[in-house]
């Protein structure tokens, strides 16, 4: 360093190339090491799989087409999130639709297909006669799309009230927003319906010389199974060598916080308890 100062003093700013060459000769090894470390730290990718098969009670449940989120850091690093998950007061599907004054037939239709919204499956002509909300939407469509009953049927959801249409989805988005705040997941994936797995791929690792890095996997939104809802927040080590695999359990483990809540009855006498 003193050599460089002396050079600058002696040469002023005239001989920049000379100064540069001295800097390079002095610091080149350090730059190389820094580059290597940064590549080692930030350049590696990992992958992990979360299995949606979980034994609850005596039954092997399949959590198909459910979204899981991946966060950097383990349970300790994400303590605030975990605490929020524990403190959250999620609204169950049935309770939400109760607050929307949905008919018993509408809720039964959702339940029959394990649906969260009316977009989940085809609303048949039969459904449009049996479910009062669908019937009303269909009638509205008939007036609007004159002489096009098939269009009134096919575009039926466009005449449903907003709360019944995508209100539950919006409620869930709001809940996720509240849970995350400024926290951003690294990725999110959805389990498929055949292998019942979600694959996180090309996870940018920040290993800093270690073989694996800690991550947290959570579904954030309670998954309703039977008469309970489940939120998992599981710590997992992910490295570049081999894929990590997360298997969910019904109860809490050392690496997994499992928040289990009973699905309570809503507005007794209006909507039946699950």
């Amino acid at each position: 360093m003193s050599e460089i100062k002396w050079l600058i003093f002696r040469e002023g700013r005239r001989d920049v190339s000379l100064i540069n060459s001295v800097i390079m000769s002095k610091f080149a090894p350090l730059i190389v090491i820094l580059l290597a470390v940064s590549v080692q730290t930030f350049g590696q990718l990992g992958s992990m799989e979360v299995s949606g098969r979980v034994k609850i009670g005596t039954k092997q449940e399949k959590l198909t087409r459910k979204r899981f989120y991946l966060f950097r850091g383990g349970l300790e690093a994400n303590k605030a999130l975990v605490e929020k998950l524990k403190a959250a007061a999620p609204v169950s599907r049935d309770c939400f639709y109760c607050t929307q004054k949905a008919s018993a037939e509408f809720i039964a239709w959702l339940r029959a297909g394990d649906c969260e919204t009316p977009y989940c499956r085809e609303i048949t002509a039969d459904d449009a006669q049996k479910v009062p909300e669908f019937k009303a939407a269909y009638q509205k469509g008939l007036t609007q799309f004159k002489r096009k009953p098939e269009l009134a049927q096919k575009w039926l959801t466009t005449n449903l009230p907003a709360g019944l249409r995508d209100g539950f989805y919006r409620e869930q988005k709001t809940m996720i927003g509240g849970l995350l705040g400024t926290l951003k997941p690294v990725q999110s994936v959805m389990t498929d319906s055949v292998s019942v797995k979600g694959i996180f791929i090309d996870i940018p690792l920040e290993l800093a010389g270690k073989k694996t890095g800690k991550f947290l996997v959570s579904n954030l939104l309670p998954m309703e199974v039977g008469d309970k809802s489940f939120v998992w927040a599981c710590e997992i080590e992910i490295g570049a060598e081999k894929p990590a695999v997360l298997k969910l359990t019904e109860g809490k483990t050392k690496a997994c916080e499992v928040i289990v809540r009973p699905i309570t009855a809503c507005a007794a006498g209006v909507c039946a308890a699950k």
Binding site: R65, R67, K154, D166, K197
Partner: protein, 359 residues
């Protein structure tokens, strides 16, 4: 002093007049073309010109839609002079086939020969979320886009097939994923609401690999994919309007909710693939959920922004490790060997990418 002021006013008025004349004259040359991306047009709201639905839409499309050009009123407030410019004003030729007082015939809307000026943004992640919980609909209208009928065609018995044992890295992950499927077939793939098996062979091509290194000239091969190898995509608004005609945002009048201004481009209509030989309908593919292989799609807000292949190679290797090994071994023996199990020669002659080697 008064004279100076008068002269100044006259000069300014003359200059302004000349500028308007000049602008009009230069713009006049382009009056037979219409683009959305001019400064003046960009200031306008889409709905200020495009009405949705247009009166002709039911007759033309069979459902309420934008099926016609904006009316004269949309243009005339700014282009009055152009409307009365000559016997056959150039501006008329934008929409009219043979402009004249006795002929109001217009080109079909939209004009497919014109370059596109917008891209469509479809957030797959949101749609996967909101229609994620599914069961097979028992019945559906015969012409329904839903898969009530389609999946019955797809219910192949899952045949056994050889699978290489896991060795390294992602191999283990892929192996486990592929072997741990005790369900005979997906009960419902919500992707099929919009993407159905193509009924006609689309225009297709092997994907261009500009950065790859071809190791030999492409060998001749007689392979031709069939229509069933491909899936189609919605064309027009009909599928979108099923949910978004009204109520569910973005609604039909919110064009920018789905369409984003882009550089002008011509849609070739060519489906490009890395693996032209991939058959969606083969027995061991049709029994998977789309997202078993299209892993990234459930987290994708915009296809154009997606990094990496939509289908990561790991999902292919889960079942085809043996073929992969066979072909990479052959390539190791002879650089001119062209991988042909999945690829057509246009791709199979290139260097094997790292994703295929690190198994």
């Amino acid at each position: 002093m008064k004279n100076v002021l008068r002269i100044a006013v006259i000069v300014i008025i003359t200059a302004a007049g000349a500028a308007v004349m000049l602008m009009t004259a230069s713009a006049q040359k382009k009056r037979n073309e219409f683009y959305h991306d001019t400064a003046a047009h960009k200031k306008l709201n889409c709905a200020s010109c495009h009405k949705n639905p247009t009166p002709n839409s039911e007759a033309v499309r069979g459902y309420p839609d934008v099926a016609d050009y904006p009316g004269h009123a949309s243009c005339i407030s700014c282009h009055r002079a152009d409307f009365f410019s000559g016997n056959r004003p150039a501006i008329c030729t934008i929409c009219h086939t043979n402009p004249g007082p006795a002929n109001g015939k217009r080109f079909a809307f939209p004009q497919r020969s014109r370059p596109h000026e917008f891209t469509t943004i479809f957030p797959h992640d949101v749609h996967q979320d909101i229609i994620a919980l599914n069961v097979t609909p028992a019945t559906g209208p015969p012409n329904s886009r839903r898969v009530g009928g389609a999946t019955t065609d797809a219910l192949f018995v899952r045949a056994s097939f050889p699978m290489a044992a896991p060795n390294t890295h992602l191999g283990a992950l892929a192996y486990a994923r592929a072997t741990d499927t005790d369900d005979p077939a997906p009960t419902f793939n919500n992707c099929a609401i919009c993407h159905q098996t193509a009924s006609e062979l689309p225009k297709y091509a092997a994907i261009n690999l500009p950065n790859g290194k071809a190791l030999s000239p492409a060998v001749g091969e007689n392979f031709k994919p069939e229509a069933g190898f491909f899936k189609d995509s919605p064309m027009g608004h009909q599928t979108c309007f099923t949910c978004h005609y009204q109520g569910q945002k973005p609604v039909r009048t919110d064009c920018a909710g789905c369409h984003s201004a882009s550089e002008r481009y011509k849609d070739t209509g060519v489906t490009e693939r890395y693996s032209l030989k991939f058959d969606h309908q083969s027995a061991n593919h049709v029994n998977k959920d789309c997202t078993t292989c299209h892993v990234r799609i459930t987290q994708t807000k915009d296809l154009a922004a997606m990094k990496g292949a939509d289908v990561p190679f790991v999902t292919c290797a889960s079942c085809h490790a043996a073929q992969l090994k066979e072909e990479t071994d052959k390539r190791a023996g002879a650089a001119t060997f062209q991988c042909a199990y999945c690829h057509s020669p246009e791709v199979g002659r290139f260097e094997i990418p790292p994703s295929h080697r690190n198994r």
